[in-house]
């Protein structure tokens, strides 16, 4: 198989196998896989194949809402990944981004054209700073980024709760006072065309982020040197690239994407800062999105929509008596199958050889 074909076929097989495994688990636990697929279709479109309901734009709006933050956390993981770093820190960077957005939304008074960009910028900077810390520790002290980013997630969680509870003062120990409307991405227009879904302008920064990701990675010298560090650190160093600086920069930019996701949630989906009980899974969703999307912008967009739809279908599954966690199980299985790509490739190659014994067989 050619590498180009591999990049498309292997993730598709992984997705397929993930759904097969998910269906088996549903069936083994005495639930109906058909009801699960019906819920997924409805989650994407509002079309109810079991009860015959037509397309409903509200469901489309809600599924895009779910896809937006995980596309961003996917970009975050992928960006660090391109520099050879395995960052599990998107979750925490997102929380800090969310907290920064909350801070600016509550404290600044300005018209929308100033306030909203400031909110987004604060989230980006907050996330970038939180990402730069493990980057710095990796570059300067060679501390493995996996454990550090995970620890940073827990620290971000409790730090967020500390600030919301003790500094801003929560209304009910759950959320802050509502933000002024000048800080929000909300749009009555978008809500009205999607039958009162929570769809908001958040998709614009998401699209910009996708374009910026593709541009930096593929079209700039900086992106090239980041990838060079990812392929071979020592060779990059020998070629005169500043390896340590690239590691920190890569982690900071990864953090910026995740921080932006925090803003998209906090001033888009919601309009208040939140106390967070436990990790909400955006970081792990992002890892799945990036791995299935092959760490490429376009792939991440598609994978983000797939997993966003799956998330949107969760409450629908629950109401069908299928525990909502099946979505996470399917997602994890897909990641596991993506990780097994060498194994899958070996099987496929064997299969291909059997298909064409005359050409391959002679040579071997």
């Amino acid at each position: 198989m050619t590498t180009r074909k591999e990049k498309i076929v292997l993730p598709l097989i992984a997705v397929l196998l993930g759904f097969v495994l998910g269906s088996l688990i549903v069936a083994f636990t005495g639930r109906s896989p058909l009801a699960m697929y019906a819920a997924i279709v409805k989650g994407f479109s509002g079309i109810d194949i079991l009860n015959g309901q037509p397309l409903n734009s509200r469901y489309i709006g809600e599924f895009i809402i779910q896809a937006m933050p995980i596309i961003l956390t996917g970009l975050s993981f992928a960006f660090a990944s391109r520099t050879g770093l395995f960052s599990i820190g998107a979750e925490g960077q997102l929380m800090i981004g969310s907290l920064s957005a909350t801070t600016v939304a509550l404290l600044v008074r300005a018209p929308t054209v100033i306030h909203l960009p400031l909110v987004l910028l604060a989230a980006i900077l907050g996330g970038a700073l939180w990402g730069a810390i493990p980057g710095f520790l990796k570059a300067r002290y060679n501390v493995h980024e996996v454990v550090v980013t995970i620890m940073m997630n827990y620290i971000a969680l409790h730090f967020n709760n500390f600030v919301i509870l003790h500094i801003f003062g929560s209304v009910d120990r759950v959320k802050t006072a509502p933000f002024p409307t000048t800080a929000l991405l909300k749009s009555p227009f978008l809500e009205s065309i999607t039958r009162n879904s929570r769809l908001n302008w958040g998709f614009i920064p998401v699209i910009l982020a996708l374009l910026i990701f593709a541009f930096i990675i593929n079209k700039t010298t900086f992106g090239y040197s980041l990838r060079a560090v990812g392929y071979n650190k020592e060779a990059a160093r020998y070629a005169g690239m500043k390896v340590n600086r690239n590691i920190i920069a890569s982690m900071a930019i990864a953090g910026a994407f995740a921080g932006l996701a925090g803003a998209v949630i906090t001033v888009g989906t919601f309009n208040f800062g939140r106390v967070i009980q436990s990790a909400e899974g955006y970081g792990f969703d992002g890892i799945a999105v990036a791995l299935v999307g092959g760490n490429e912008a376009f792939g991440i967009l598609l994978a983000g929509m797939l997993f966003g739809g799956l998330k949107a279908a969760q409450p629908l599954m629950q109401s069908q008596g299928i525990p909502r966690e099946i979505a996470g199980i399917i997602q994890a299985s897909i990641v596991l199958f993506v990780a097994m790509k060498f194994g899958i490739k070996m099987v496929l190659d064997k299969f291909e050889r059997k298909q064409a014994p005359t050409t391959e067989g002679d040579r071997v």
Binding site: T29, F86, M152, H158, L165, S278, F284
Partner: protein, 317 residues
């Protein structure tokens, strides 16, 4: 901090140390055999879920339900870790990605099964977990008795025993030597006729057993039921203890105690004069912050198995 308070902290700190030590020893087996096991968190979750479930389901029929819970947690950990073994040994998966997948899978699977079995997103609460006990005789020794032998969870002694067993197996038996060889230079080990895949299966499955046991210990001593957040990063802290303890069983013991005390501190902070004013969130952060600091001190001099995390290529020299 008064001395009395320190004495009071001991049983709590040892309770938190036990699962960290057990799980980190599991990680030691896996990494010494050459497989990075970031799935320890997920393995602990599976062990904790199984331990709690078995305890809940058996507690009306046997007083030893929690002990069956521990055993079930251990076995569940082994079964779950087979996935990591197959993926990273047979299918040459990236071990970090495979481990991450298992961590996500564990969260989904355990809560899914809670919904199927208990119709809620957590297990039912068990009425009795593992019970504290006092060692007759030894608990009367002044000071030392109160620190290590009075009102102690027996799981701590299991953890201590495992430290010695691990040391013996890894450093004093041919099996341990072969396993370590696979973690340092698998090609050289293979040239001496050692079955690298088999050794690595051994390492990963033992890590599954100890991680599963660690998870079950944690939920049955420090909690009343299994929830999605029962383990809250303890698997990763165990992983850090392994680095902190320099991949050595006694180092792991020290690191585990250190993290146990840092967790216990958050429970006693309000009684300590100069700490009482700080907000509770500060103490929640403490174990995680200390983990990073510990890694910082030891990272430069880290002496981990050389081949850990590398995909085994038998043709490489």
């Amino acid at each position: 901090m008064t001395f009395e308070l320190l004495l009071q902290m001991f049983p709590i700190a040892l309770m938190f140390s036990a699962p960290i030590i057990l799980t980190a020893l599991g990680g030691l087996f896996s990494e010494r055999s050459g497989i990075v096991n970031i799935a320890l968190e997920g393995i602990m979750m599976v062990g904790a879920f199984t331990g709690a479930t078995v305890t809940v389901l058996l507690e009306n029929s046997t007083p030893a339900a929690a002990w069956y819970g521990l055993l079930a947690g251990l076995l569940a950990g082994v079964v779950f870790s087979i996935l990591h073994a197959v993926a990273s040994i047979n299918l040459k998966a990236d071990q970090v990605i495979s481990g991450t997948a298992l961590n996500i899978l564990a969260g989904g699977l355990t809560v899914y099964l809670c919904q199927i079995i208990f119709h809620q997103q957590r297990t039912r609460a068990f009425s009795n977990g593992i019970q504290k006990f006092s060692v007759p005789g030894l608990s009367d020794i002044p000071v030392l008795g109160r620190m290590f032998f009075k009102e102690i969870y027996p799981t701590f002694y299991i953890a201590i025993a495992m430290v010695f067993i691990t040391w013996f197996v890894v450093y004093k038996t041919p099996l341990g030597l072969r396993m370590r060889a696979c973690g340092e230079h698998p090609q050289a080990a293979a040239s001496m006729g050692i079955n690298v895949a088999k050794m690595r299966y051994f390492g990963v499955l033992v890590s599954g057993a100890l991680g599963g046991l660690g998870g079950a210990v944690m939920v049955l001593t420090a909690d009343i039921q299994y929830t999605l957040v029962s383990i809250h990063g303890t698997g990763f802290i165990s992983l850090a203890s392994l680095v902190f303890g320099k991949w050595n069983p006694f180092g792991v013991l020290g690191a585990g105690l250190f993290f146990g005390f840092s967790t216990a501190l958050s429970f006693y902070a309000k009684d300590i004069k100069f700490l009482a004013g700080l907000p509770g969130e500060f103490f929640y952060i403490l174990p995680y912050l200390l983990t990073i600091i510990a890694l910082l001190f030891f990272a430069g001099k880290s002496v981990g198995p050389k081949a850990a995390g590398e995909i085994y290529d038998s043709g490489k020299r």
